[in-house]
Symmetry: C2
Subunit: 656 residues, 2 copies
């Protein structure tokens, strides 16, 4: 597909880095275990749960129309009951849940074909084909449950959001198997959508209350080389937040009071002002991440500098004021999203798994217009911590919320009334290899380290990169290039900002990092021969991290990080309730790989002090401070918590 | 009224101390300002708001039946929308809101007759008289809104709770004015209730899901000398939590699934087990306090040792594991009540004003069976802090929740969808003098200090106690007795447990406290003459208080107390965001009475350190701890917060 620009006289940023396709990267080591759990456990569970919930009863036109499950708050499954705007039911977004399950399953099929999984997907594709209306329209809720109401409430009802997930699923299944049917069905649906919405006279100037279709359309455009899908994505992005406000027009058409909707502010869905004017990350966190992801794609595709400036501002706002150290985001359950600057409560952190996954989407797309470790660092931080915590080690249970402290009230569940997170983390894990690399016309950027084999295409050239490493447990990485014949191109190797001591050698020769480092990447531009080897040694010293003084929840507290991994204490490994423990500022850490623990993890041990209760009188308060006794602590990686006996967990430890 | 006992062979505890009537104690000084604000501002506001809400439309049978305002979560007024069990609407407990308003107004009329206020009350009494059914039944919701449904859902629908508040209102108005009409109406209603509920064959073995009628019936019994009201109270207490469980029987009669109700546990309304077996304070905090209050009354009246043992266990559980330092209680908004031991979050503390008021009710009734400063200390702590914070200095705005930390998101409101707290704090303030004294046959206990004139009756003898003091600002108290003729009796003077240095003189002679102190009271048993004077000096040194090591939220933090007052920082008085400030462990306090500030308060000032942000890079986390600069802080009494410019507030300060 050709790239175009906003203004023909200003070429702007040309398309730079694209991620490889999932089939191009075989992953080993740390992530192979995660992918195995997702493939063998999560995917069958997702299929079963979609079935149990009755999703296929809604989609399959051959079955009787099911009952409506309203109100939302009494919907099936675990999780806390929360009130939601009157218009929304769980079933309204079931298409998206099914689509994400299909996408995750398709990504695992890409690695290794699986007849059973494909048969399930083929059956679902058949249902959707049968369900699709004459004019291409395809949404099970509005076809079966609320016929005649289509396109009447884009603000609340996830209609284009569902379309977006169907698009992503179709692309993934097509790329995994080469089967075209789903793509054809979805292509007709997108053409229908394009006939309804747009800036052209006679079309509705709508866009979705839950962003998603925008990034999906970019994916579709890239998979099909069809510029018109990109144009539709750009229309949705450009229109968002413009006056007259579409959601007000639409509410009036429904004869509803325009101000009466969930959360009462258009910040909730980032439509409060046009996107190019936005500089604060606000509202529902997942929506925000999906929006920014699509915006970043458009910067890459169109070289849109105004969009890029907005993204830089938004990024800066997020990482300097609103991001948990785990890469989690969106502290409030109330709006499933952002609150105020520096408001990062630990125990009540919402930090939805989907939001961390969305941040990885966004960060990876920021790498589309240039390698910069600011983005790769955050991508890695969210990946190894706030996102990965969302699925258990065995792939069978899940977190929706990812707090940084738990007093034993927060545990993984086997399903949820709003089952958006399990397929989201599953599709991320299944495609994790695609986030490791970026390929432009004459450059390969290595964003993430990890045991893997990448078969990349640099223009016409095939380049194989074999990464051998125990990362994230060990900082030694060796990458061997495989080429059919010698070729000149650049390899960009990331040196994470958290790494205080790194060395890099090319075929044994040390490269002067200080002289060559640009935005955290070493650019090695040379004629490469097959067998050439790049070796990196990243120092994985244990680090103590302190939060900005305005983060009130973390005063007098410290977090532990080793490499990309944030650590936590779990009660089971420690001698006292976790908040009675205080680490002394100069305590040294004993670092040990324990292969029997949590599937094999590096643990950190140190001496500390623990407050005594023995001498405390039968009262809650006294005028003498508590006494302490020596204690020793053991920390495990945050992603692995709540995989053993349930109990307390704490990321931010007291330090004295 | 004669006291009786459970077992005639065991006299048990005879009725000991009763509180004086509100007319017997004229209050000056600190509390006079509060009573003035309640009388002049709060009472007219309460009347207006009841009217605006449409409460009288529901009560007055001469008006058309109003529309039902369902669901509860969309009810009028401010406050956060919270989901509530499907059966409950705001209107269901409007009788209680009106009754509490009447009671509060009646208490102010007791001090000084007021034709306007009395006219309003008389009009309300007329409405209730007109509304009352042939058989005595009197509940505006079930008569007007849901006719035919009376007594079908005691669990959820506040029917007997409303009756309880009507009883309390009638007693207060009768005692304030001598007008009998309301008492007669209510007497007929109580007789009807007694004909429906009881252990006798043919009666329903029900009791209310929201305790209140039990303590109201004791009040009615004491006001009328009618033993049968006491017996009905005892029946409700004894029946609670017994098997077969009434709420299950009742749910079955409604053909409802018995397990489907708000909060899903009978701990919510303390009916999970019989009351004598209870030893953990659980569930909805206000309900718990009202229950324990009635239980304590029954210990005083019947000398029921089993009930007393349960109360001692419950008290111990509350004060050693579940009470905020402000005397606030019930940390969770979810159940408006208790969670787990030592769970006392500051910022999200629910700590409803009504619960602190309820604790004062309970503590004062524990003093019924003997003076013990354990109870008086907690009563005073809740009174001056967690309860009094519920009303603004001018009496015009209110807190429902009383957190111990606010990042400027919590402010007083002028009304609330669930307007239970304003009349509750109003009736408490208006009657505060009655909590200061206890009178038995031959003893007067002085529980609370404060400028006041008490005209007590000790048997046939009139005893006048004139307290002169600047308490709580100053610890000097002088009490002069007024008697018609010399008389022998005991005066019990409380020495608060928080006071580390106290002296007491009788007519200038020092009393040896160490030798005479019993349960925190000095018992002065002598022949008193008019003009005899007791002088007490309580040291009001500023104290630092530390929380039990299991209270995870208060690690490395300290609270400041001076006398009965807990202090807090407000942003307006301090140089930096409050959690950036750290008090050094040895800082001295400068104590100053500022008569222009907040109606006149003692402030505390000290030097501290404040974390800098100037040298912090544009990032949220760094590996170097924050730097600090010297700062000075100023603390004000907690009850007075949010009466100036809105901003942050903090009780538990960092200490290093």
């Amino acid at each position: 597909m050709k790239s175009s620009t906003n203004d023909p006289s200003q070429p702007g940023i040309r398309s730079r880095f694209r991620s490889p396709h999932v089939k191009q990267v075989s992953v080993g080591g740390f992530w192979a275990d995660r992918i195995k759990a997702v493939t063998e456990k999560t995917i069958p569970i997702l299929q079963l749960r979609c079935d149990e919930a009755g999703m296929f009863d809604q989609i399959d036109p051959a079955r009787p129309v099911p009952e409506q499950r309203i109100p939302f708050s009494t919907a099936f499954g675990g999780g806390k009951v929360r009130p939601v705007g009157g218009n929304v039911t769980a079933q309204m977004y079931w298409d998206s849940d099914v689509a994400k399950m299909v996408e995750a399953a398709a990504l695992t099929v890409a690695f290794r074909r699986n007849d059973v999984t494909e048969a399930v997907i083929d059956r679902i594709v058949d249902m959707y084909e049968a369900l699709q209306q004459e004019d291409g329209y395809l949404n099970s809720w509005y076809i079966r449950m609320q016929p005649g109401k289509r396109w009447t409430n884009l603000r609340d009802c996830h209609e284009l959001y569902c379309a977006g997930h169907l698009i992503e699923a179709a692309v993934a299944y097509y790329q995994a198997t080469g089967k075209r049917k789903f793509m054809d069905v979805i292509g007709r649906y997108v053409d229908h959508i394009a006939s309804i919405f747009g800036a052209e006279p006679g079309k509705r100037r709508g866009y979705c209350g839950h962003e998603e279709i925008e990034l999906a359309l970019v994916k579709l455009a890239r998979a099909t080389n069809e510029q018109r899908y990109l144009e539709l994505a750009r229309y949705f992005i450009d229109e968002r937040g413009r006056q007259p406000h579409y959601f007000l027009i639409e509410a009036e058409e429904r004869a509803e009071e325009p101000g009466r909707f969930a959360h009462g502010t258009f910040e909730y869905n980032q439509s409060h002002i046009p996107v190019r004017e936005q500089n604060k990350v606000v509202g529902h966190a997942v929506r925000a991440m999906y929006l920014y992801s699509a915006m970043a794609d458009l910067v890459t595709e169109y070289g849109d500098e105004a969009l890029r400036t907005a993204l830089e501002n938004l990024w800066d706002d997020l990482v300097t004021k609103r991001l948990y150290i785990t890469g989690g985001l969106g502290p409030s359950a109330d709006n499933e999203g952002f609150t105020s600057d520096y408001d990062l409560p630990n125990e009540t952190a919402y930090a939805e798994t989907c939001a961390a996954v969305g941040l990885i989407f966004w960060a990876s797309r920021m790498l589309g217009f240039g390698a910069d470790t600011r983005y790769a660092d955050i991508m890695e931080q969210a990946l190894y911590n706030g996102a990965l915590s969302g699925v258990s080690l065995d792939g069978a249970s899940f977190f929706y919320e990812n707090p940084l402290e738990s007093r034993d009230g927060h545990h993984r569940w086997s399903w949820h009334r709003c089952p958006c997170c399990p397929p989201n983390i599953a599709r991320l894990v299944a495609s994790v290899g695609t986030y490791a690399y970026g390929v432009s016309e004459n450059e390969i950027a290595v964003h993430l380290y990890g045991e893997s084999e990448a078969r990349l295409e640099l223009g016409e050239r095939a380049v194989r990169l074999s990464q051998r490493t125990q990362y994230p447990w060990d900082g030694l990485i060796s990458i061997t290039l495989g080429l059919e014949e010698p070729a000149a191109f650049a390899v960009l190797m990331r040196i994470p900002a958290w790494c205080e001591k790194a060395t890099l050698k090319v075929n044994g020769d040390v490269v002067d990092l200080a002289a060559t480092l640009q935005r955290g990447y070493v650019r090695i531009d040379r004629t490469w021969h097959s067998g050439d080897r790049v070796e990196i040694a990243l120092d994985l010293a244990v680090q103590r991290l302190y939060a900005h003084p305005n983060v009130r929840q973390n005063r007098d507290r410290v977090a532990l990080r080793r490499g990309p991994l944030v650590y936590c204490l779990e009660r089971i490994d420690n001698p006292a309730p976790l908040n009675r423990i205080s680490l002394s500022r100069d305590a040294a850490f004993q670092v040990e790989f324990e292969d029997k623990l949590l599937g094999g993890v590096v643990t950190l041990q140190a001496s500390a002090a623990s407050e005594d209760t023995e001498d405390w009188p039968r009262t809650l308060y006294r005028s003498e401070p508590p006494r302490t006794s020596p204690a020793s602590i053991k920390a495990v990686p945050y992603y692995a918590w709540d995989n053993r006996e349930p109990g307390e967990m704490l990321v931010w430890l007291r330090e004295a």
